[in-house]
């Protein structure tokens, strides 16, 4: 049983203006959220409201500065950890825009990551089977293993590759940032099944999405409406349906303000 606690999190980013001035802009304005093992939380909110910022800040992206608040994983101070320590502690972020790493093959990358997270190199024979099975589940061609990390991958292939990593690294808490965006209907089903398979291991999941369609496969226990750097409303799965029919306005969110 694991718990991720986010307490009154404030995060800024250094925006380099047209005049090359370097002023910090506050993006997260006090986020409170607790995610336990087994639970699935969906976060929905308009573009630019800070959802990715929340995800990246928890993972330790160098671009974001936490100005106040806490992130705890089973009571441990996540913010004091390096990026790789966070992953080894059991956090995983499936990124909205996975990064290309030229010259590094997927198979080498996966094995290096698994070795780091598990604390020892997986036995070669069981490892090959493990990767093979996980790729099969996600309907990924074997040839992917020999390609460079994310290089030339289509949008959908990148997302499958993210979930493949989640399946192999078996995190305690996983954050999925728009894993469903850019997937066609078949890919959405395959990727959702992949996510559900990992959920069976008891992972706590934070699912960032714009669409309820993924929630038909990956059923959330909680839905949170995110706006202007904070959670403005929380509820059960029914909240997602309300959002679908009536948009964000009903929740006190002015979408034109969000766009502006």
């Amino acid at each position: 049983m694991s718990t991720l606690e986010i307490r009154d999190l404030h995060v800024s980013v250094n925006a380099v203006g047209a005049d090359a001035s370097d002023t910090p802009t506050e993006i997260l304005k006090g986020v409170d959220l607790t995610v336990n093992s087994q639970e699935t939380h969906a976060i929905m909110g308009p573009n630019g409201s800070g959802k990715s910022t929340l995800a990246y800040s928890i993972a330790g992206h160098p671009k974001y500065t936490v100005t106040s608040g806490q992130v705890l994983l089973d009571g441990q101070d996540v913010l004091a950890m390096t990026v790789d320590e966070r992953a080894r502690a059991g956090l995983f972020l499936a990124m909205q825009y996975p990064v290309e790493v030229p010259g590094v093959s997927v198979s080498n990358f996966l094995r290096t990551a698994a070795t780091a997270v598990r604390g020892e190199a997986p036995k070669l024979r069981t490892w090959i089977k493990e990767v093979g099975d996980a790729m099969k589940d996600l309907e990924m061609d074997k040839a992917f293993a020999e390609r460079n990390v994310n290089e030339g991958f289509s949008g959908g292939e990148k997302k499958r590759h993210e979930i493949l990593q989640m399946a192999l690294l078996k995190p305690k808490i996983a954050i999925l940032d728009e894993t469903d965006s850019g997937l066609d209907v078949d890919a959405l089903r395959v990727v959702s099944q992949g996510v559900n398979k990992v959920r069976e291991t008891g992972v706590g999941t934070l699912l960032i999405t714009h669409y309820t369609r993924i929630l038909r496969y990956v059923h959330p226990d909680f839905v949170h409406v995110f706006f202007d750097g904070r959670i403005v409303q929380s509820g059960g799965a029914e909240l997602a349906d309300e959002l679908e029919t009536s948009g964000y306005a009903r929740f006190g969110v002015n979408e034109t303000a969000a766009a502006g």
């Binding site: 330790g60 790789d84 992953a87 996975p98 990064v99 790493v101 010259g103 590094v104 290096t112 990551a113």
Partner: protein, 390 residues
């Protein structure tokens, strides 16, 4: 369909100090070529083709010189291959090369012997031809001809080691339907100067894979050129430079599409590690009116591993027909990519390991084209040792 994609990530073509004159992409003028050295003035450094090169150390090579010693290449090759030293008046000499600068013309005019590697027609070699050119201190001329007869398949390695001041030409003919890989390794000692034209003709339906690896030497300036002798030909040009303090590594490519339905793909990368490290990449591609159905792409990536290092990058794409399959270029020079590091670390990989993975990946992206394991591993070891020695 015509697709022109000009993608200049991280804007500058030229990185570091500003340089007088244009550094952006423009049209390559028609190249002037001649076998007469005196048709080329002694370079002053103001010429387009010499403006990036440190000329002072090269002066002795701008005029005819007395050869100080004779370099005798050695080789290991499968039995089917003929390798011989011929006199400079052999008909093969000058059959592909058209000198485009004074040093190349001087080398052609003054060289006494050439090494000729002949791959017989229709033969697929199971082992590479490995020619080792061990330099000797002092001024030298060199000439190598690689003649891959039609429908042959082979890999030829030119492995340059030792110390030399070498002005040389390499001519390569890829016969109809042949598949030839040429790997030129410059693993010289630190004081070496190596100026060479690497001229290749790729004939009908033939495929050339050309890999240039610059590791050692003081000044290494290579000018690979490709022309196509018939339609359906393919040229893959890969390059890797790793320049440290005091090293100048320059690659000036010229790909001349004058016949229909040929393709060229250029990927050159350089890593610079040292305040005075310097690399130059010029990628000239010309698609002439007759070259319909051409497909070409050029990519140059430069990784600055230390302050002060400078990489110049100038792609030039001249398109003279609308009937092409595709043409484009991309060039980027930058420091270590923090996002790549973040991505790897976010999967639990410690920073040091992540850094090693990214740098190793950068080099391996080119080294992977060297399918000869012993050579691939030797080069990777050399690179890792140099990186580790920091």
């Amino acid at each position: 369909m015509t697709a022109i994609d000009t993608n200049n990530q991280q804007a500058p073509h030229s990185h570091g100090l500003p340089v007088a004159g244009s550094t952006g992409s423009g049209s390559p003028p028609e190249r002037f070529t001649s076998r007469n050295p005196d048709d080329f003035a002694v370079p002053t450094g103001r010429e387009e083709e010499w403006r990036f090169t440190p000329l002072r150390k090269l002066r002795p090579m701008f005029n005819s010189f007395q050869v100080d010693s004779t370099i005798r290449p050695t080789w290991v090759a499968p039995a089917e291959v003929t390798i011989e030293v011929v006199a400079a008046d052999d008909a093969l000499i000058g059959s592909v090369l058209r000198p485009a600068d004074r040093v190349s013309a001087l080398a052609l005019a003054n060289v006494r012997h050439a090494l000729v590697v002949r791959i017989p027609a229709g033969i697929e070699l199971s082992e590479p031809v490995w020619v080792t050119i061990t330099g000797k201190p002092g001024l030298n001329y060199g000439h190598v001809v690689i003649d891959a007869a039609p429908n042959s398949k082979a890999t030829v390695i030119l492995d340059h080691v030792g110390s030399a001041s070498l002005a040389a030409n390499v001519e390569t003919i890829v016969g109809d339907g042949a598949n030839l890989t040429v790997v030129s390794v410059q693993d010289w000692d630190a004081d070496t100067i190596h100026l060479a034209a690497l001229a290749t003709r790729v004939n009908r339906d033939a495929k050339l894979t050309h890999v240039v690896i610059n590791l050692g030497g003081s000044i290494v300036r290579l000018t690979p050129t490709v022309e196509f002798g018939g339609p359906g030909a393919q040229a893959e040009l890969y390059g890797l430079s790793f320049a440290g303090d005091g090293q100048h590594q320059e690659s000036r490519l010229h790909v001349d599409h004058a016949v229909p339905n040929c393709s060229s793909n250029v990927v050159y990368k350089s890593a610079l590690d040292g305040e005075t490290a310097r690399t130059v990449w010029i990628g000239d591609v010309r698609i002439r009116p007759a070259a319909t159905g051409t497909s070409t792409y050029e990519l140059n990536r430069n990784l600055l591993l230390s302050d002060g290092a400078r990489a110049d990058s100038v792609p030039n794409l001249e398109i003279e027909t609308g009937e092409i399959a595709g043409a484009g270029h991309a060039s980027a020079t930058g420091r270590f990519d923090d996002l790549q590091l973040f991505y790897l670390q976010s999967r639990g990989i410690p920073e040091e390991d992540a850094r090693r993975l990214v740098v190793r990946g950068f080099f391996n992206d080119i080294l992977k084209y060297i399918k000869v394991e012993a050579l691939h591993d030797r080069l990777m070891d050399t690179i890792l040792t140099r990186l580790g020695a920091k």
